[in-house]
């Protein structure tokens, strides 16, 4: 929520003070009114103070002009998180009927310099909306994601473009590429889910394919939570048990001495579901499930002891023979 490095001092290259700018002589700057007893008072540089004094003046005059437009650029550069500046800039762009392609180029540069800022991404989205042109958007977000494969804003923008302009076709290939680069990229797994859910949906056939896909990744790295979460996400609307392969898959890994907490958790989920569905051998299933909870609590996932002990108690009280409600 606060994405700026307060240790960075702003650069100040060849800045011209307003007193040396004849084109601004007619406008009276409006100082910020912090009241008589200011708090959290920022020691603004002279440049920052002046630019914003003039920015307030153009807003007060409701001026939408070329000079006002260039002033918003200066103001945005000094503080890209100032949403008032971006908002007013958009008003001017509309009023002056500016070339939005140019604006897109400009905002690309700003985003590259400030990739984790809400305002600049929102600005881009509005411009794309106005242009009704997404030609460069996938390429652009890809470029940002190359630097930081989990940038939330970039993914948000990408999803919006895909949904708004139906760009679903190539996306699974892109996700596949990202997962081959880093199978722990949870944003890419999430994108996979997003794409499938909004296109083919998780039909029986797709589920089988996706189970295999995620299980191949799990075999490579059984301690990778992302792939486990995705595998379970695939079956979200169904029962793990409808696809009997899941428990067998888990047993196979378990028998190879793999003790990933996510594997054991998945086995517990399978057993819990069997209990829910009233499958035979209830006591044995319950015992297996609670034993696995204890294994996690005492050995493989001791950090989450409280949680696993709670799950064990819940299972025992819900499905145990000795529960008071049953007698």
């Amino acid at each position: 929520m606060s994405e700026c490095n307060v240790d960075d001092a702003a650069s100040n290259e060849a800045w011209v003070p307003f007193k040396d700018r004849p084109e601004w002589r007619d406008l009276k700057p409006i100082p910020q009114d912090d009241g008589p007893d200011p708090v959290v008072q920022i020691a603004y540089s002279e440049q920052f103070r002046e630019v914003y004094d003039y920015f307030r003046a153009i807003i007060a005059a409701d001026e939408k002009s070329e000079r006002a437009l260039s002033l918003t650029k200066e103001a945005a550069e000094l503080n890209p998180a100032n949403y008032s500046v971006w908002n007013y800039r958009r008003n001017i762009l509309q009023e002056l009927n500016k070339d939005l392609k140019e604006e897109l180029k400009y905002i690309s540069q700003v985003i590259e310099d400030n990739p984790k800022n809400y305002q600049v991404w929102h600005h881009r989205r509005v411009i794309v909306e106005w242009l009704e042109d997404v030609t460069d958007e996938l390429k652009f977000t890809e470029k940002i994601l190359k630097e930081d494969a989990k940038n939330y804003h970039a993914w948000q923008h990408r999803q919006w473009c895909i949904q708004q302009f139906s760009l679903w076709d190539q996306e699974l290939d892109y996700v596949d590429r990202l997962l081959k680069e880093d199978l722990r990229n949870n944003s890419a797994w999430n994108q996979r889910h997003f794409i499938i859910k909004n296109t083919t949906g998780y039909t029986d056939e797709i589920i089988k394919k996706e189970l295999k896909y995620s299980q191949d990744f799990i075999r490579k790295a059984p301690n990778n939570e992302s792939a486990w979460n995705y595998m379970k996400g695939v079956l979200q609307e169904r029962k793990l048990f409808d696809f009997p392969g899941v428990l067998e898959f888990c047993h196979e890994l378990y028998s190879k001495q793999i003790r990933s907490p996510f594997l054991i958790a998945c086995m517990i989920d399978c057993y819990e579901e069997m209990l829910e569905l009233g499958k035979p051998k209830k006591e044995e299933t319950l015992q297996k499930a609670t034993q696995l909870c204890n294994e996690l609590a005492e050995e493989h996932d001791t950090l989450r002891r409280e949680y696993w002990q709670y799950i064990a108690r819940s299972l025992a009280s819900k499905y145990g023979a000795d529960v008071s409600g049953d007698s």
Binding site: V39, Q156, E225
Partner: protein, 417 residues
């Protein structure tokens, strides 16, 4: 020799908690290992200083207070990038100070309230600074800050123009039951939480305002169990807090899949570091001590009151409270005051606020009439308990309830509830 058995980070098997990359290194695992290295270094340094200072770890209240009170007055020009977050700065600092039990003089309280009044828009809502457009995030921060100041004098509440605030919130509401952050601004679950929280605190949460909002929130719960900023996106700690806290405020917790939420949140505590990460396979960050940590008391409360769940603990939240305290106290204190994301990072008021808030959650179990304190290190590390839904002290929430509870709805809203 100091007694090291009390600390999880000094247990003999601690090294076995290192990230397991299954012989398949990727960017994620490489970055993770580098962070673990720096965290281990902190824990080793702690081990060696324990012989000299047996009551370590120690929360340096004095230095943090100093950093905070200075910031409340003036900030260097490097804070220009937060010039649209000044009510946030007020809230981060005031909330940190209330957790540290530092008293604010009345004159100062009135000055802050007066400044926040300068940030209020004539048409309702608060902006990021004087004469900036109103925005839901600083509106939330300003209202929370005023609740804290009300402990000094409830005159500060006069600042809030409730009628206009209501109009502003309604103006921000979208057809899909969400909220724009500002006129022409972005829509996400932060807006929902901010709007619902201030509406509840100031007692203007009408049916008209809350209609359809739970539907939007529900659409943000992902297959992983956490909530995303907008439907389709990845589960994320900050947005998850916004989602579940807003559902509580709206009395619609039945719309949440608690089981998967609890699983996802429990898994966000990192094995070796003991702190929380924001998303699956991301790095630990001190601020998630609160965003993720607060979800536990909230979920606990829901399961206890709505489901009368007898299996819940009466002593502990469902995360490792000691491990989180160790991470915050040993790895997240800046040597010159203030708290941080992770070792090597710069200090700021945001991280100071959310590290301390998370520390408080980890110290206090409060379930109805039951309470249990777990204080790691020096007993003076104890902070005031927080009300997790608003992230305010219990007293500050009460101040708002007392003051606004008796006020009628604004005339524009009165016939719409």
């Amino acid at each position: 020799m100091a007694d090291t058995s009390r600390f999880r980070c000094l247990s003999p098997l601690f090294q076995s908690l290192l990230f397991k990359d299954d012989d398949c290194p990727t960017n994620t695992s490489i970055e993770q290992k580098a962070v673990e290295e720096s965290v281990l270094k902190c824990y080793r340094t702690f081990r060696s200083s324990l012989d000299i200072y047996p009551d370590m770890p120690f929360l340096d209240r004095e230095m943090h207070t100093d950093f905070l009170t200075k910031g409340l007055q003036t900030l260097s020009s490097s804070y220009e990038c937060l010039d649209s977050s000044r009510p946030w700065l007020c809230y981060w600092i005031l909330h940190s100070l209330e957790l540290l039990e530092v008293i604010i003089p009345e004159e100062r309280a009135l000055a802050i309230a007066n400044f926040l009044g300068k940030c209020q828009d004539p048409e309702g809502g608060f902006g990021g600074g004087p004469m900036q457009f109103p925005h839901l995030a600083p509106t939330y921060a300003a209202v929370n800050a005023l609740c804290i100041l009300a402990n000094v004098t409830n005159k500060v509440f006069d600042v809030i123009n409730r009628e206009k605030l209501y109009n502003y919130l309604m103006r921000m509401k979208t057809k899909e039951g969400a909220f724009k952050m500002h006129d022409g601004g972005e829509v996400d679950i932060r807006g929902v939480y901010c709007a619902v929280s201030v509406a509840r605190l100031t007692n203007i949460l009408t049916k008209e305002l809350s209609d359809g909002v739970a539907d939007f929130i529900t659409r943000c719960q992902t297959y992983e169990g956490g909530f995303s900023g907008y439907p389709g996106l990845e589960a994320h700690g900050g947005y998850t807090f916004c989602g579940i806290a807003a559902l509580v405020l709206l009395n619609h917790t039945e719309r949440c899949d608690l089981r998967s939420l609890l699983r996802w949140t429990a898994n966000r505590q990192t094995q070796l570091e003991g702190g929380f990460q924001g998303r699956t396979n991301k790095l630990v960050d001190g601020c998630y001590s609160f965003w993720q940590g607060a979800t536990f008391p909230i979920v606990h409360m829901i399961m206890c009151t709505d489901d009368d769940d007898q299996n819940l603990s009466a002593e502990r939240w469902m995360f490792h409270q000691e491990a989180l305290q160790e991470y915050i106290l040993i790895c997240c204190q800046h040597s010159h005051g203030g708290l941080i994301d992770k070792p090597g990072k710069a200090r700021d008021h945001y991280h100071t606020c959310y590290c301390l808030s998370g520390l408080s959650v980890a110290q206090h179990f409060i379930g109805g009439s039951l309470s249990n304190e777990i204080i790691i290190g020096n007993p003076q590390n104890r902070l005031r308990p927080v009300q997790p839904v608003y992230n305010l002290s219990l007293d500050s929430v009460m101040m708002a309830q007392k003051y606004f509870g008796s006020l009628k709805l604004p005339s524009g809203a009165a016939n719409k509830c």
